[in-house]
């Protein structure tokens, strides 16, 4: 049984996640993670073969922050906007009060000419904790079905 306040908090977290990436509020997106979070993006083919290889990995919130800094000040990438469509999460209560969530995503990109395409489809496997009535990602593992990445992966999935 997961209390309805927790369910509401999780729904807000999921919505904020998509909103903050898609509206280019990446600095605020960082704050959806706990300080000791794990955020990683993994090709499904590696998961299937039991291999640990990642596309990217952040072992704490500082690293998530650094990724945003790098995108802002250092990296050059395709000029585009993102649009996340995230399905309803399947929730499982954990003994320590956290909640495991699994949801599917589709991420579309649109370029400056107004052409859109499916950039990535896959799923999120999360561990969500609650601090001051708010839900945060203690863990977000993005498993990418579209592991033949179209060109490059800059803004987060």
């Amino acid at each position: 049984m997961i209390a309805s306040e927790k369910r509401d908090a999780i729904a807000d977290l999921m919505a904020e996640y998509a909103y903050r990436i898609d509206r280019d509020k990446l600095e605020d997106w960082v704050n959806l993670f706990t300080e000791d979070c794990l955020y990683k993006v993994v090709p499904r083919e590696n998961v299937a073969q039991g291999l640990p290889g990642v596309l990217l990995i952040c072992l704490n919130r500082n690293m998530v922050h650094d990724r945003v800094t790098s995108l802002r000040v250092a990296n050059e990438y395709n000029i585009h906007v993102d649009r996340h469509v995230i399905g309803a999460p399947r929730l499982t209560a954990q003994a320590d009060g956290s909640v495991r969530a699994e949801s599917n995503y589709a991420l579309f990109q649109t370029n400056q000419e107004g052409e859109s395409w499916l950039f990535s489809v896959g799923c999120y496997e999360d561990v969500i904790v609650f601090q001051g009535g708010k839900a945060l990602f203690k863990e977000r593992v993005v498993i990418v079905d579209t592991y033949a990445i179209p060109n490059l992966l800059a803004t987060p999935i």
Partner: protein, 420 residues
């Protein structure tokens, strides 16, 4: 018509854009490059450790399978059924005693030999193959595979020089250095880049772009143009190793900042909140912390600090290729070192802090050159004329001319009096 008059300069300092965008060129490459007298990078022995282990791969755009045979050697064949041309091995990897095409169940052994044809004698004396049909003559098309310290190379040619000679001194030594310990594959990354495959071959040979396109180095103070580096090539200049030695300018960062200021590229003072990704655990005693080994035509082996990876270029028509990354460590790595390598994976691949730009650079070059076949790129950083075997500075794109000179030779379009 493609002929040797396409080169505006005899030293390959001008490359006509047509070479990226001409179907005739692309089709000829299949014959003269991918099926030509050379060795292509195929995969790693560590990926097929046991008898019967197989993986699919590509030589150019030709689908192939490699697998470990009963005698422990690795064999390979084109993944196209001898009967009616279907894909024989559909799975990307696995273990199998033999390979059966699902369409009519023709069965092949690990060397590609045809060992089974259902209803060969027909049913109740009716149908079936002519008794004269020689099964031994109708196996899969085979490729020859050889290993250099655990790296598998393949060829279609029986005229090719021995693998070690093909790689040449600097490359064979550098690969032996990288493969000195048994490797452990950590995973794969792939990216689909909408550009001609040769744009990527140029990219990995181009040290000039390193500190300019990839600003991560400079913004976070990881490496600088004044750091000691350069390139080593084989005497034929088909391959190239770009390298940087660690810490040769650490005591002189004032000089480094001045060098950037001269270029009107200001040193920035951004700091990573977590420096863990920058750590370097020295594991080679030659001081080289960065080595990009570009092997003609389709392979790259990299050491970027503790991040080790192989990259394979897989053309998908003239306008797109897949870049297939195999990330690895070594069997002896402890948990901490393996995690450190994974952490430094953040630097490489489609999402890499110092490599995501390469995908974009290739795509914008491909897009903008499409309609201008006669126009040319300029390759003159580090000078023109005869190509040296060694470059002792980093602001150079000389190895690109080596690439094109060998390409021209293979394609049969060397300019008269070509300088290489």
């Amino acid at each position: 018509m493609l002929d040797n008059s396409i080169w505006p300069a005899k030293d390959y300092s001008r490359v006509p854009f047509r070479l990226y965008h001409d179907q005739e060129v692309y089709d000829l490459e299949r014959e003269r490059i991918w099926r030509g007298p050379l060795w292509s990078f195929l995969g790693l022995e560590a990926e097929v450790p046991k008898i019967g282990d197989f993986r699919t791969s590509f030589i150019g755009d030709i689908p192939v399978v490699y697998n470990r045979g009963d005698d422990g050697k690795v064999y390979g064949f084109v993944n196209r059924c001898a009967h009616r041309g279907s894909t024989v091995r559909r799975e990307a990897y696995g273990n199998a005693a033999d390979h059966t095409c699902i369409y009519h169940r023709w069965c092949y052994d690990k060397k590609g030999g045809l060992i089974g044809v259902p209803f060969r004698r027909g049913v109740k004396g009716q149908g079936g193959l002519d008794p004269a049909f020689d099964q031994a003559q109708h196996g899969l098309e085979t490729i020859r595979i050889e290993s250099w310290h655990g790296i598998l190379f393949a060829t279609f040619s029986d005229k090719v020089e021995p693998l070690e000679q093909y790689l040449g001194g600097p490359m064979s030594n550098m690969l032996a250095r990288i493969m000195a310990r048994p490797v452990k594959v950590l995973g794969y990354q792939r990216q689909r880049i909408k550009g001609n495959w040769k744009l990527y071959c140029e990219n990995t040979r181009d040290q000039y772009h390193g500190s300019l396109l990839h600003q991560f180095h400079m913004k976070f103070g990881i490496t600088r143009v004044t750091q000691k580096g350069g390139a080593w090539m084989d005497t034929r200049h088909r391959h190239s190793i770009s390298y940087t030695r660690e810490d040769t300018d650490a005591q002189d960062s004032a000089q480094a900042i001045a060098a950037y200021a001269d270029q009107k590229v200001a040193e920035s003072d951004f700091q990573l909140k977590d420096q863990g990704i920058l750590g370097y655990k020295q594991e080679f005693d030659d001081g080289v912390s960065l080595a990009i080994c570009s092997i003609f035509p389709n392979g790259t082996f990299q050491q970027i600090r503790n991040s080790m990876a192989a990259r394979q270029v897989r053309p998908r028509g003239m306008d797109e290729f897949e870049l297939y990354w195999t990330i690895f460590g070594y069997e002896g790595d402890d948990e901490e070192l393996e995690m450190h390598r994974l952490l430094q994976t953040n630097m490489i691949g489609p999402a890499g802090f110092i490599s995501m730009e390469d995908g974009e650079a290739v795509e914008i070059a491909h897009r903008a050159t499409m309609l201008e076949g006669e126009a040319c790129s300029i390759i003159e950083m580090g000078g023109g004329g005869k190509i040296p075997d060694e470059i002792t500075f980093k602001v150079s794109d000389v190895p690109l001319r080596g690439f094109w000179s060998y390409y021209a030779e293979l394609m049969g379009i060397e300019p008269e009096g070509g300088i290489r």
